[in-house]
Symmetry: C2
Subunit: 123 residues, 2 copies
DNA sequence: CGGTATCCTCCCGGATACTG
DNA sequence: CAGTATCCGGGAGGATACCG
């Protein structure tokens, strides 16, 4: 197994692929508030198309991060909620938010410095 | 500012966009071993095209996560190394790897269960 | 050696219309 | 309500050739 194959199959890569997905983390964060219906999610996560929401939910469900409950009612009612595994992800997401909030200013400053090579800071 | 705009601009999203990038984390992990040259990186990270490697390195440099040093030699020599900011990312990457390695079995099992709906586990 | 420049393909993801 | 089906455009990213 070469480095490439390892890099593409290792646990970190797989989790990264899910975490890196635009909508997945958003959905997980929404569900941190408790179970939610499909429509509620689609309204709270502005800009998501039904296609992407469904796709995201299926992916999370497949990975065992969320559960899907269909209630035998009319009209239909489907609830999504975090599983124990999904809830364990929240601490990681929290660590990410923490790092982001702590260092975003540095990153922002670095970006501006990079984009404006000539500009000196103060003297 | 609506939820969408917030979601797309918040610190977590920006960091996620970088972290989620396939090659960025790989590069950061490689550079954890110490400064490396362009060619060394391209060899160690199998499957990366020069275009993507350069693009990844520029992105990391712009965000202040890595430094780029050009040595006035013939032939040219360029070293990339983690900045302090970049090194601070390592703990986050470590947390990610840790979560991944801890829970990957559960995820894998969930995937198999999802992909084989009919199969029962033992009795 | 350390990249750029170019082309080209694939597929992600948005919009929309429809259905059980 | 909770999706599925279909179409479509744009951009990410690979391969390759070339340059300072």
């Amino acid at each position: 197994m070469d480095a490439s194959a390892y890099a593409r199959n290792c646990p970190s890569r797989q989790i990264l692929d899910r975490i890196g997905d635009t909508w997945s983390v958003l959905v997980v964060m929404m569900l941190a508030d408790g179970p939610q219906r499909y429509t509620a999610l689609s309204r709270r996560i502005e800009g998501v198309s039904p296609k992407m929401l469904t796709q995201t939910l299926r992916g999370l469900e497949r990975d065992g991060l969320i559960g899907r409950t269909v209630h035998a009612e009319v009209p239909p009612r489907v609830d999504y909620e975090l599983t124990t595994l999904g809830r364990s992800l929240l601490s990681l997401v929290g660590a990410l938010e923490n790092w982001a909030e702590t260092h975003i200013d540095d990153v922002q400053a670095a970006r501006e410095a990079y984009d404006n090579p000539g500009v000196k800071i103060s003297a």
